[in-house]
Amino acid sequence: MEMKGFNIRYTAIDLAYLGVVAAVSGVIFALTWEVYYIGELIGGPIGARILSYGLWFIGAPLAATLIKKPLSAFLGETLGALVETIIPTYGGFTNLIYGVSQGLFSELVYLLFRYRRFDSLTATLAGAVAGIPAVYLDALLFEEIYPLEVMFLILIGAMISGGIYGFLSSLAVKSVKH
């Protein structure tokens, strides 16, 4: 597959890495439901998002930091969500909708950097921006609608969580790969 100006030719090793990221993300996404409910008990809707939402966004930064190719972020998050849907978890098919949207937003970050940077900064940003579609879809699909100031705090919480876990996932990949 060729895209104008970008090399998106995936080798067998890249595809194997993508499979691993999808499986690892899927397993973590499935576990995150427990973390989310624990977080909701401790810190309510905002605390739950800070504690857990970033874990649901790690597919994109993990895949992009590991594979360093265009579309890897989108595929990592989407395939992770697909695995989570297959396992299956509480969210069911909606997980895939979340995965596709979050993957697209994270991919946008790497596109903005013209696929030249796959470091901790881009991983942090990729994790953070995935919070936007997640909060929007929460409102749309699960009717999690609160007053405007609470929605703003929830969005900030989700983005901070995404940033933290995006950064951590890039650290984990770097420490494991080298």
């Binding site: 067998a12 194997a16 691993v20 690892v24 874990l55 494991v176």
Partner: protein, 96 residues
Amino acid sequence: MLNILSRDSEEIRHIRVMRGKSRYPLTPSSFLSYLRPLLSLSIERARWIGIAAEMRGFGRRKRSVRKGRFDILDMLLIVLFLIQIIIIVAISLGLA
């Protein structure tokens, strides 16, 4: 692969409990201590799977596009799908 990873994940969580840590990674540091071994095991496996596939010529394979045939069975399937959609729309609008 998913079964192997689920087993790895369960083992890591079991070891975490044995070491007096939480079963679920609730903090960033516990997340790292959970993710690193999981990634380390999986990436090593994936690398060798990828190398084995490349050695067998995966990267050099010819990519051919097969032209699809559209026969009577495909047509029948599409008609059945359309009927299904019409019935669903009719039921949801209260026409049936």
